[in-house]
Amino acid sequence: MPSAELPLTLWERFSQFAFYQHALAAGLAIAVGCAVLSVFVVHRRMAFIGQGVTHAAFGGVGAALFLELWLPALRHPLLREAIVAFFCVATAILIGRIGRQRRIGEDSAIGIVLVVAMAVGVILIDLRTEWVRRMAAGGELRAVWQGYAPSFHDILFGSILSVTRTEVWVAVGVTAAVLLWVAVFFRGLLFYAVDEEGATAFGLPTVHLHYGLLVALGLMIVVAMRLLGVILISALLILPGITAGLWSRRIVRVIVASMAFAAASLIVGLLASMQIQVLSTGPVIVVVLALFFLVSWITRGRR
């Protein structure tokens, strides 16, 4: 069959391989969700919080991998994500709490939490690796479950092409929940974002808005980790919002532009790694986002 010898077109590959479709669906959901939060993150100077929470996710992965070794009931990818989610949200709240103490300050709080979570994550993964080796040697592990763990590369840089159908639904569900929350509390969030103390003085429930935003961030980060990994995810929480902010000064337009930049970069990144197979998708997405920013900054930013 001569046609089999021809290289497949992009479209043929996309329609034939479910993992590309999963990557696109989950990727678009996450890009849009992160893009909306990014507008608040950037303008509230919370970029570093995103950084702290993502690195906490690394600790969460370590904890999940370690725990499931002892509690076989936890050996399910969704449960693993639930543990990571718990870690992220807990960290977000912890940062929020420590940061509210005048003597410490948010940046130091993040600095502490970030490195500790990373360190604990690495220690737990090391311990797990060692125990898996010993258990395997002692014949305690069943052959079927060889203690599969994502590689450091996957944790750090994501593996969007291995996203499962279930994970697509989780990503879409979490994004929908976050977008709904933002839409419902939109006016309050704006007031909180421009002037937190003022909002409190005017009788708004700013404490709840503050922690709500942190929880939304934590959840979004957990699902986005599968795509971009711990290191690159803050790109999706910073670049779309800051790029969009260069194009408009109206909040709704900024949010729409932010979503457009994130979605476009995801599509370009995915196409690029479909075309050139050695490229990991996550880093390409980040580079595309950075190019959008650079062009916007050169053309719009230096007014």
Binding site: R187, G188, V194, D195, A201, P205, H208, R249, V254
Partner: protein, 282 residues
């Protein structure tokens, strides 16, 4: 989410306080009796403050930096709790007043606002209604009409659709005043309203504030460390440096009071005047 529930819990956190309505102060919109406040680290910030402010009057609180002016405002706003003594605004505790969103509103220092956030002036002003209306009720017709009138009085209607970050310091200041006016509060609390404005900006601000006063019959309390910027049009002046050193008509501020307050020479800032010493301390 359960906003009513949240509101309930915040309201719960208002400390129950026995209502003491002192006879002579019953007409006061703000009534502070023997109020002291310590910072969390134990430093005394405010020491046995007595102050009552008549309805629809203007009070200027002056005093050196670190003298407790902003702390006093934050207590009145219900942002700081844990004071001792009695504080009432329109008969409510500050915490209860804050929950209502339309008793005492705040014009904060401009420095604490994220001016580069992509919002328009009109949106910033409308935020003032969120506390009163709650997060989910939209702006009513009457409220919208009142908002437009506030924009007119403050002379910012023409620039209402411009991004807040593009405006001048004086325009931003007036936007914050408008935000505080739209829920129709009884009391307007201004923190260093003149800060960062040049002489003409201050003049404009003062004329706008007297327009506000005439139009809306509101009680104004402003706090400043710069004597020249507030005293001129205030009916009453309180000098605050941990204790309240004076509270009378501005013309009667004495050199002695000011020297004690600032511990420095004030030549040329204010005319020397007649009265001396503090009736509150007697």
């Amino acid at each position: 989410m359960h906003d009513a529930d949240q509101a309930e819990r915040l309201a719960d956190r208002c400390r129950p306080q026995s209502g003491i309505d002192h006879g002579p102060h019953r007409d006061a919109i703000i009534d502070i009796q023997g109020m002291s406040y310590r910072y969390p680290d134990g430093t005394l910030a405010l020491d046995r403050i007595h102050l009552s402010v008549a309805r629809a009057s203007t009070l200027a609180v002056i005093g050196p930096n670190g003298g407790g002016k902003t702390t006093l405002l934050k207590i009145l706003l219900g942002l700081l709790d844990g004071y001792r003594g009695t504080v009432r605004i329109a008969g409510l505790t500050p915490c209860e007043a804050r929950r209502r969103g339309d008793v005492a509103t705040w014009v904060p220092q401009r420095a604490n606002f994220h001016w580069d956030f992509p919002v328009r002036l009109r949106e910033v002003v409308a935020m003032g209604l969120l506390g009163r209306n709650g997060l989910f009720r939209s702006v009513g017709k009457d409220q919208q009409a009142f908002l437009e009138r506030v924009l007119d009085v403050l002379e910012i209607r023409k620039i209402a659709d411009r991004p807040i970050g593009d405006l001048s310091g004086g325009q931003q200041q007036r936007a914050l005043i408008a935000r505080a006016l739209v829920p129709r509060p009884r009391v307007l609390l201004l923190d260093e309203p003149g800060a960062g404005l040049d002489a003409s900006g201050i003049e404009r601000l003062q004329s706008v504030l007297s327009d506000v006063k005439r139009e809306f019959g509101i009680t104004l309390v402003s706090v400043s460390h710069d004597l020249r910027r507030v005293v001129a049009d205030a009916q009453r002046v309180a000098c605050l440096n941990q204790r309240l050193h004076f509270h009378d008509v501005p013309e009667s501020l004495t050199r002695g009071v000011l020297d004690r307050l600032y511990s420095c020479s004030l030549d040329g800032i204010l005319p020397a005047a007649c009265h001396h010493d503090d009736p509150q301390e007697a």
